[in-house]
């Protein structure tokens, strides 16, 4: 029987937490049977996320009188293409021509856009339904606007590839012509929204859409967080604790301050709980250019307090993990009788794979040049920056930076 998987708490951090407890990985997976039409809603866990989901086309879609459709993309790009694929879902449902679609990155504003914590590989799983509803609602609004303009029943008109067509007469209205009419139109209620049939989909599942930023990436124009340039801006680098969870015991910045270009040295306190979602802490060196900041960091004299991980032993931890992995496992899902298959197999292959600790490298990401009041408020509190003076650019691979 086909199922929708309801998977909860499988973010990478949740995963690490499970591993760290050495009790094996516990993932809550529930398989829900699909016994209803696809258009009906099914649970995904999205509603348990802070600020849940939003499906209002007035929030996500703007149509220009020229016909250009601008769709808000509210999740952070993580290299999975999510910046492109959720708007693509909206475009497909609203019968927009992708070549006439522009994307705009949402500012950090969860009450407006829904949850923006792009982690756990669940953006599509959580948002395909609201994005389909959003696009379908806009399609129906466009049809309604055209029907009203021509004074014909809405059932006689159909939105097809960026225009609404009257079946009887072949009359057509482009989306741009209907932009004004839909701008203030009430959104149809959820029980009046009909999703497209699978056979009518243009983009979803077709593999015919390239990532929106393809050309900018290939020509070096794509804008990532650390590509932001402001008049008179300063550059900072941070000396991080050599041990995760460590903090600064004492430091001497006198030599660092002598490096030409270095302007200020700031201690960032390590917060509890250490690691997880809190800043790691360390010593920030602020300079007139990146290289001066790096040289300044090299000249810092820091005494670290390693903290609880100071005695951490990678080899012992590996041995513990291997021992745990060889123990009898708790069965979470059992399909296809694997024990029987193994027993009757002609050849059995046994292998163990070991992967060392990985640094989840945060490379920088494109960011829209605009204010982010919500995160500025939060980060302002966290870093003791007056809110009105903080502007945050979300970066690539920093799934929570927008939050």
């Amino acid at each position: 029987m086909p199922t929708h998987a309801l998977i909860q708490n499988v973010s990478r951090r949740g995963f690490l937490k499970g591993v760290g407890s050495a009790a094996g990985l516990v993932v809550a997976i529930q398989f829900l049977p699909i016994s209803r039409a696809f258009a009906e809603t099914y649970a995904t866990g999205a509603d348990q996320m802070p600020h849940g989901t939003v499906n209002d086309p007035h929030i996500f879609v703007t149509i220009d009188p020229s016909g250009t459709v601008t769709i808000v993309t509210h999740r952070s790009e993580m290299g999975t293409g999510i910046r492109t694929s959720l708007p693509m879902v909206v475009a497909d449902e609203m019968e927009a021509d992708w070549s006439r679609v522009r994307l705009t990155q949402a500012p950090a504003d969860e009450p407006r856009y829904g949850n923006q914590d792009t982690d756990g590989s669940r953006s599509m799983r959580h948002f395909i339904q609201p994005m389909r509803q959003c696009g379908a609602a806009m399609r129906q609004m466009l049809e309604q606007a055209a029907a009203k303009q021509w004074n014909v029943p809405a059932s006689e008109v159909q939105a097809v590839n960026h225009e609404v067509v009257h079946k009887g007469t072949g009359r057509k209205a482009g989306y741009g012509d209907l932009a004004q009419a839909v701008a203030d139109m009430p959104v149809p209620p959820l029980d009046k929204i009909t999703l497209k049939k699978d056979a009518d989909l243009r983009y979803m599942g077709k593999g015919n859409v390239q990532i929106y930023d393809l050309d900018d990436i290939i020509t070096g124009k794509a804008h990532y967080g650390f590509d932001t340039r402001l008049p008179g801006m300063k550059y900072a680098v941070v000396a991080r604790p050599p041990v995760v969870g460590g903090k600064v015991k004492s430091f001497d910045s006198s030599e660092a301050m002598k490096v030409p270009g270095v302007e200020k040295i700031i201690e960032i306190p390590t917060q509890d709980p250490r690691v997880k979602f809190t800043p790691l802490g360390g010593i920030a060196v602020v300079a007139s250019n990146t290289y001066a900041a790096i040289k300044g960091r090299e000249a810092l004299k820091i005494q670290w307090e390693d903290g609880p991980n100071g005695s951490y032993d990678s080899a012992a931890y590996r041995a513990e993990m291997e021992k745990t992995a060889r123990q009898k496992a708790k069965i979470v899902r059992n399909e296809g009788e694997p024990d029987k298959a193994f027993a009757s197999a002609d050849k059995r292959i046994t292998a163990e794979y070991y992967v060392p600790h990985l640094a989840c490298l945060r490379w920088s990401r494109r960011s829209p040049r605009r204010w982010f009041p919500a995160i500025a408020a939060r980060s302002g509190r966290r870093f003791n920056i007056p809110t009105a003076r903080a502007r945050i650019w979300p970066s690539c691979w920093t799934c929570r930076s927008t939050r």
Binding site: E77, T80, I211, I217, I218, Y291, W363, R365
Partner: protein, 150 residues
């Protein structure tokens, strides 16, 4: 101290210590942000640019040592239609895209010196450029396609 260098056909006089890595001169002084910082120790290839047509890691190249003209991703082709860039488009290579300027510059310099590389030669030439998204199969295919004009 003033250092003179040519980047993408334009001469620049920059007032920096000569040991400043070329990367920071390109990004912070000249203001071309297409070239990325990844590791700072020539271990990832994100900062790859051409100096005199050769692929170099700009993060460990002192600007004072640069005498030949520098080309960055912005200057590889005026229309962004270098054969490598075209192959990259056709193969939909990038995911997040952060390493891609380095990958493209590495591939372009490599193909200029070896017009008909074997698969092994491609793997070797590209092995110093890492990709966090793991686009390696498409990178390889695109380099191959660019070499054959496919």
């Amino acid at each position: 101290m003033t250092v003179t260098l040519t980047v993408n056909g334009q001469r620049h006089q920059v007032d920096v210590p000569p040991d400043t890595p070329l990367l920071w001169v390109i990004r912070d002084v000249i203001g071309l942000t297409g070239t990325k910082f990844g590791c700072g120790i020539a271990a990832c290839g994100a900062c790859t640019v051409h100096v005199g047509g050769e692929a170099v890691r700009a993060c460990v190249t002192a600007v004072g040592d640069v005498t030949d003209p520098v080309t960055t991703i912005e200057g590889l082709d005026p229309q962004g239609r270098h054969p490598v860039q075209q192959a990259w488009r056709n193969a939909n290579v990038p995911q997040c895209g952060y390493c891609q300027a380095g990958q493209i510059m590495q591939a372009a310099a490599f193909l200029a010196s070896n017009r008909n590389p074997s698969d092994r030669e491609i793997s070797e030439a590209m092995s110093g450029n890492i990709c966090r998204c793991g686009c390696y199969q498409r990178i390889h295919a695109a380099v191959k396609a660019a070499s054959t004009g496919a």
